[in-house]
Amino acid sequence: MKILVALKQVPDTETKIKVAADGKSLDATDVKWITSPYDEMAMEEALRIKESRGAEVVAISVGEDRTRELLRNALALGADAAVLIRSAEAGDPLAVARILADFARDKSFDLILLGHTGFGGDHGAVGPMLAELLGVAQAHVVTRLELGEDTFRAEREAEGGFERIEGSLPAVITAQRGLNEPRYPSLKGIIGAKKKPIEELEAGPIESTIRVSTLTLPPARPEGRKLEGSAAVQAESLIQLLRNEAKVI
């Protein structure tokens, strides 16, 4: 079985977001970069499949120089190969999906795993787009995955519960929290990864379909009000305020 795991490098989730001088991008000063948490789950799932039934795992990322660090970590975790595709189009999910599809096409991957969304862009779109571009099945926002010979069964979050999806391989599966608990790389893995090569490619010319024109911070919420009095008085005044002032109940 051949598995492609697509990883995105994102700002740490505790990052305080600042807008850059151009008014439309993230100020990357002081940003700590991590592998998107859902992509770590995709990687973990690939490693578990490799361990249980044997698989060749290729890690890929669309990024820049600093993204090598993320791929080095993927190798340390157990990926067999790592590919960096340089591109400045990381803001457009369709551009990223096209770059990944161009790489994956003709390489006969049975399974493509990635996180259901990458922190930052928050489109949650690359997985379904990649599935469409490759003409394969998808299961998006998956919390459970079982593989057959040429089939898969997956559970995904839906309104008020979970959907069970059945489909054929090859497929694109996007990971949601609950799928597994990602491991840390072993010392042996980290040392071994230093000797493994990272293949570097340039993305072909890709036209973007959407771009950010301005990035702003949300307006500060107006100063709130602390309620006074005994518990019973506070509870009663809250209900009156919600009903008569805020009019939300």
Binding site: E14, P128, F162, A246, I249
Partner: protein, 319 residues
């Protein structure tokens, strides 16, 4: 033309779809466009309701093969409809289904896609979208550069507006049904409850709940308010058996209800990112210095185990 992919539940138009339709009508009026509502399923009974929210045309794909949702099947159907009608814009509600199918359709059409938009306008006939990024820590204005534009609207943001049109219905050709992946079963965890992202009222608990069993207090309050229960990451990670599907925050659900009641939640950056879009925030916490009070519309410094049952009892007394 703007096509809006609409969802039915129990023969009724789902509220997030009514929101998308209402917004499509508003956009169409600003740009002299028509609105078509598209329904797909084994039955489209109930789709007439779309005319009330401004659909000039109701497209119905009714076939046994569409009884169960399929990403690839529905995406092909939607893309065919967009091309056949020469629509320039496709909208869907940002529901589990909408966010599953819309990006797939966009890829099929070579169209730009914006997820979870909170504001839309037309400029030179093209869509412009405002949307949260970094889980709501920032907002982006986006310009599309593709001839066709696809977006999902974030639930609970766009108002539902009635704008009745005469009922015009057309059937769409039924697909063959050789789909690559199909939903086989819905495993309902909480029957009849709406999803957090669509809920109008959310009562959330954090570390201050002390143990999982205490979430019963929040369920009672949520029931009295017609809302649903959420949780902070601290509560989900505490090993109390609170499922991740209930988590509100940057690594959970990003929500925008009318009313968000945070009980025993300190207000960590990653939680606030997921709920600061709520219209009214109530914080109940015994620590007066908790950061949650900085964003709360109404704050109660006190013991949630005392306050929450008082709220529930008072609300029940009114009914």
């Amino acid at each position: 033309m703007i096509i809006v992919f609409c969802e039915l539940k129990d023969g009724r138009l789902r509220k997030p779809s009514a929101e998308s339709l209402s917004e499509a009508r508003r956009l169409a009026d600003s740009g002299g466009l028509q609105v078509a509502a598209l329904f797909a399923g084994a039955s489209c009974i109930g789709s007439e309701e779309a005319a009330r929210y401004g659909a000039d045309l109701i497209l119905q794909a009714e076939a046994p093969a569409l009884a169960a949702y399929s990403s690839d099947g529905f995406a092909a159907l939607l893309a065919d409809a967009v091309q056949a009608r020469r629509a320039s814009i496709l909208l869907a509600a940002g529901t589990a289904m909408g966010k599953d199918v819309a990006p797939r359709v966009a890829a099929r059409l070579g169209a730009g896609y914006a997820a979870d938009v909170t504001g839309l306008s037309l400029a030179g006939g093209r869509l412009q979208a405002t949307r949260p990024m970094f889980a709501g820590k920032a907002f982006a204005d986006c310009e599309f550069t593709s001839p066709i534009q696809v977006a999902t609207t974030r639930p609970n943001v766009f108002p539902v507006a009635e704008s009745p049109r005469p009922l015009v219905q057309e059937a769409l050709p039924a697909p063959a049904g050789d789909f690559k992946a199909v939903v086989k079963e819905l495993l309902a965890k909480s029957a009849g409850k709406v999803d957090l992202t669509e809920a109008d009222v959310i009562v959330s608990g954090g570390r201050g709940m002390k143990e999982g069993a205490n979430f019963k207090l929040l369920e009672d309050l949520a029931d009295a308010l017609g809302g649903v229960v959420g949780a902070s990451r601290a509560a989900v990670d505490a090993g109390w058996g609170i499922p991740h599907a209930m988590q509100v925050g940057q690594t959970g659900k990003v929500v925008s209800p009318s009313l968000y009641i945070a009980c025993g939640i300190s207000g960590a950056i990653q939680h606030v990112a997921g709920m600061s879009g709520s219209k009214v925030i109530v914080a109940i916490n015994k620590d007066p210095e908790a950061p949650i009070f900085r964003i709360a519309t109404y704050g109660i410094v006190g013991d949630l185990f005392e306050i929450v049952p008082l709220l529930t009892a008072s609300l029940r007394g009114q009914h």
